[in-house]
C-alpha cells in the first residue's frame, strides 16, 4: 500500500508544480460591472494574459477598457466575476495580488506640487518600501526614462511626455511582475513614443508582463504578441496578433501609377473595388485568397505599370475597423 500512497503524493506534487508553472499574469472570468447609473460597462469578460506576454487591449472609446483596468487595480468595485493576478485573487489575496501590479493610468494622477523624486518614492512607500531602500531604484528608473535631471522639480513643471514617463517610473518602482499601461503614448511626440517603445520592449524582454491599451494600432502591432478587442463591454476577439491579422478578409492598398488609369476598368472595379484617388493614384482592395500579384497583373494587362504601393492603413487598424463594424450598434 505504501508505494500507492507514495505515487499519489508525487502525482499531487507534480500537478501542483504544473499548476504553478501554468500561472497566468492575469486571468479574468465572467467579469461584470454595472455602475450606479445603470450603465453596464463590462458584460461578462473572459481574458487571459500569459506571464511574460506583451498584450494589447484594444477597443473604441467607452468600450470598457479603462473600467476593466480599474477593476484589476482596485479602483472600481466589480459587480461579478473573478480576477486573478499571478494566480492570486483580488478578493481573497488583494494585498499580495496588488504587490504584483504596476499601473500607468491614462490621466495624470499625481500631486502637482510634489517633487518628481517624491512622487516615485512615495509610491514605493505605499508598497511598503522605505524611502532609503527605494531611492537607488527610483533614480535608475528616472535615468532610464530620461527625466533624472528633473527629479527635484515640481511635477507641474514637466511637459506632457515627461509626465507620462514619470508615471511609468512610478508604476515600476516596486518591481511589479505585471505592468498595465492605459494609453501610455497618447499625446506624446513620435521621438519620445519610439523611446518609450524601446524602454517597454527591454522591460518585457527582462520578464515583465506588459498589458497596454492604445489607440495607436501601429503601437499594438509593433509591440504586442497577443491582443484582445473589447467592444460594448464584451471581448469580441482574442489571440495572437499574427493569427488575428491572418484572418483579415480583405486589405486595401494604395498604388502609385506610372501612367493614368484608362477609363474602361469595369473588370478591375468589380474584382478589386478600384477607387481613383487622383489621375496617377488608385486604391485597390485585395480579398483573402487573392494575391497582390493578381492586382498588379490586372493593371499590367491594361498597360499600366505600378511605381510603388503601400497599405492604405495600418493592417491592425483595418482588422480593428472590420471587427468593430461587424458589431451591430445598439
Amino acid at each position: 500500500m505504501g508505494w500507492i500512497w507514495g505515487k499519489l503524493i508525487i502525482s499531487g506534487l507534480l500537478i501542483s508544480e504544473m499548476r504553478n508553472n501554468m500561472t497566468h499574469a492575469l486571468e479574468i472570468h465572467n467579469l461584470r460591472k454595472r455602475y450606479d447609473t445603470g450603465v453596464e460597462a463590462l458584460k461578462g469578460v473572459d481574458l487571459t494574459v500569459s506571464s511574460g506576454d506583451f498584450f494589447a487591449l484594444l477597443g473604441p472609446n467607452g468600450a470598457g477598457k479603462s473600467t476593466l483596468i480599474n477593476v484589476v487595480c482596485g479602483l472600481v468595485n466589480k459587480t461579478g466575476g473573478e480576477v486573478l493576478i499571478e494566480g492570486l485573487s483580488i478578493d481573497d489575496d488583494y494585498q499580495k495580488a496588488k504587490m504584483h501590479v504596476g499601473i500607468v493610468p491614462q490621466e495624470m494622477n499625481f500631486g502637482i506640487f510634489e517633487k518628481v523624486i517624491d512622487i516615485v518614492l512615495d509610491q514605493a512607500g505605499y508598497y511598503g518600501i522605505p524611502r532609503r531602500e527605494a531611492l537607488p531604484k527610483a533614480e535608475i528608473l528616472l535615468k532610464q526614462l530620461g527625466i533624472f535631471d528633473k527629479k527635484d522639480e515640481q511635477s507641474r513643471t514637466l511637459s506632457g511626455g515627461m509626465k507620462r514617463r514619470l508615471m511609468i517610473a512610478r508604476g515600476l518602482v516596486h518591481d511589479p511582475k505585471v505592468l498595465i499601461l492605459d494609453e501610455p503614448t497618447a499625446g506624446v511626440d513620435i521621438e519620445i513614443r519610439r523611446e518609450m517603445w524601446e524602454f517597454l520592449r527591454k522591460l518585457n524582454d527582462a520578464g515583465t508582463t506588459i498589458i497596454l491599451t492604445t489607440h495607436y494600432l501601429e503601437e499594438a502591432e509593433q509591440l504586442c504578441n497577443n491582443m484582445a478587442i473589447i467592444n460594448k463591454g464584451e471581448v469580441i476577439e482574442q489571440g495572437p496578433v499574427k493569427d488575428l491579422l491572418g484572418r483579415m478578409d480583405r486589405e486595401t492598398f494604395i498604388f502609385d501609377l506610372e501612367s493614368p488609369l484608362p477609363e474602361k476598368t469595369a473588370e478591375l472595379v468589380s474584382q478589386f473595388g478600384v477607387v481613383r484617388v487622383d489621375s496617377d493614384t488608385i486604391e485597390m482592395t485585395v480579398a483573402k485568397g487573392e494575391s497582390v500579384n493578381d492586382a498588379i497583373n490586372a493593371l499590367n494587362r491594361l498597360d499600366v505599370r505600378v511605381r510603388s504601393m503601400r497599405n492604405k492603413t495600418n493592417r491592425l487598424e483595418e482588422f480593428f475597423i472590420q471587427k468593430i463594424a461587424g458589431v451591430p450598434k445598439e
Binding site: 455602475y35 450606479d36 487595480c73 482596485g74 479602483l75 472600481v76 468595485n77 488583494y94 494585498q95 499580495k96 496588488k98 504587490m99 501590479v101 499601473i103 493610468p105 490621466e107 495624470m108 494622477n109 499625481f110 500631486g111 502637482i112 506640487f113 510634489e114 517624491d118 512622487i119 512615495d122 509610491q123 512607500g125 505605499y126 508598497y127 511598503g128 518600501i129 522605505p130 524611502r131 512610478r170
Partner: protein, 257 residues
C-alpha cells in the same frame, strides 16, 4: 503586508501630510497665529482688563485655552478634509488606492496628519499666549490628552466631510456654519456658570464644551464640567467617528465606484 511594510506605508502618508503643513505655512500656520494674537490683544488685554476674574482667574488667562482650542479644532478638521479631498480631486489618492496599503493605514495616516497640524498649531498659539501673560501649566498630561483627543475627533470628522464633499465649497460649510458657532457657544469667552439656566442646560449638549473645558483644566486648572465625564464624551466620539470612517472606507463610499 508585514509590519515593516505597513510602517513604511503609514510613515509615507504622515510625512507627505506633515510636509504639506509646512509647504503652505502661509495658508496653514500663519492665519491662526495672527487671528489668535488679535483675540488675545482685543479680548484679553483691551476688554479683559475691564472684566472681573472668573473662578479667581484673570479674564485674559481664562480665555486662552478656549481661543487656542478654536484653532486646534478648525485646523485639524481642515487638514484632513482638504488633504483627502484635494487628493481625491487631483486623483493622487489613486496612488494609495492601487497599492496594497490597507484602508485602516490610510485612515490612521490622514488622521495623524490632522492631529499633527492641530498640535503644531496649539504649540505656536501657546507660545504666543506666553507673550501676553504668564501661565503655569496645571497638568501637562490633561493638556496633551485633551488636545490629542480633540484633534483626533476633528480629523475624523474632516475625513467624513471630504468623503461626501462634491466640491471645495462643501469643505467650508461645516466649519463655517457648525464648528465656529459651536466653539463660540462652548464657554470659550465665559463660564457657563454665568449663564441663565436654559442656556446653561443647552450648553451641556455641546460636545465642544467638554473639549475646551478639559483643555482649560489642563492649562490653568479650572473647569465647568467633570473631567472624567469630558474624557468619556471624547472617547465615545472617537469610537463613533472611527467606526463611521471605517464603514465608509470598507463599504467603498468615497473610495471606489
Amino acid at each position: 503586508m508585514n509590519g515593516k511594510q505597513i510602517w513604511a506605508s503609514y510613515t509615507t502618508i504622515v510625512r507627505k501630510e506633515f510636509l504639506r503643513l509646512f509647504r503652505v505655512w502661509i495658508q496653514t500656520l500663519l492665519p491662526p497665529a495672527v487671528t489668535t494674537a488679535l483675540y488675545f490683544l482685543v479680548f484679553g488685554k483691551f476688554i479683559g482688563g475691564q472684566v472681573a476674574p472668573i473662578h479667581g482667574i484673570s479674564y485674559m488667562q481664562f480665555i486662552i485655552p478656549g481661543v487656542i482650542m478654536i484653532s486646534v479644532i478648525t485646523q485639524s478638521f481642515l487638514h484632513s478634509a482638504f488633504g483627502y479631498y484635494f487628493a481625491k480631486f487631483q486623483r493622487s489618492l489613486e496612488e494609495i488606492l492601487v497599492s496594497p496599503t490597507p484602508y485602516w493605514v490610510m485612515i490612521f495616516g490622514y488622521v495623524t496628519g490632522g492631529v499633527l497640524r492641530g498640535l503644531v498649531t496649539g504649540v505656536i498659539l501657546l507660545a504666543i499666549a506666553f507673550l501676553f501673560t504668564s501661565l503655569a501649566v496645571h497638568s501637562i498630561f490633561h493638556l496633551l490628552a485633551f488636545a490629542v483627543l480633540t484633534s483626533i475627533v476633528f480629523s475624523l470628522a474632516g475625513l467624513i466631510n471630504a468623503i461626501f464633499a462634491k466640491d471645495f465649497d462643501s469643505i467650508n460649510i461645516f466649519p463655517t456654519f457648525f464648528l465656529i458657532p459651536l466653539t463660540y457657544l462652548a464657554g470659550t469667552f465665559y463660564s457657563i456658570s454665568m449663564l441663565p439656566k436654559i442656556w446653561h442646560d443647552l450648553s451641556l449638549w455641546n460636545p465642544l464644551l467638554y473639549m475646551i473645558n478639559g483643555f482649560r483644566y489642563g492649562l490653568i486648572g479650572v473647569t465647568d464640567v467633570n473631567i472624567m465625564g469630558a474624557y468619556g464624551i471624547l472617547v465615545a466620539l472617537v469610537i463613533a467617528l472611527s467606526l463611521t470612517v471605517w464603514y465608509l472606507f470598507y463599504s467603498g463610499r468615497g473610495v471606489r465606484v
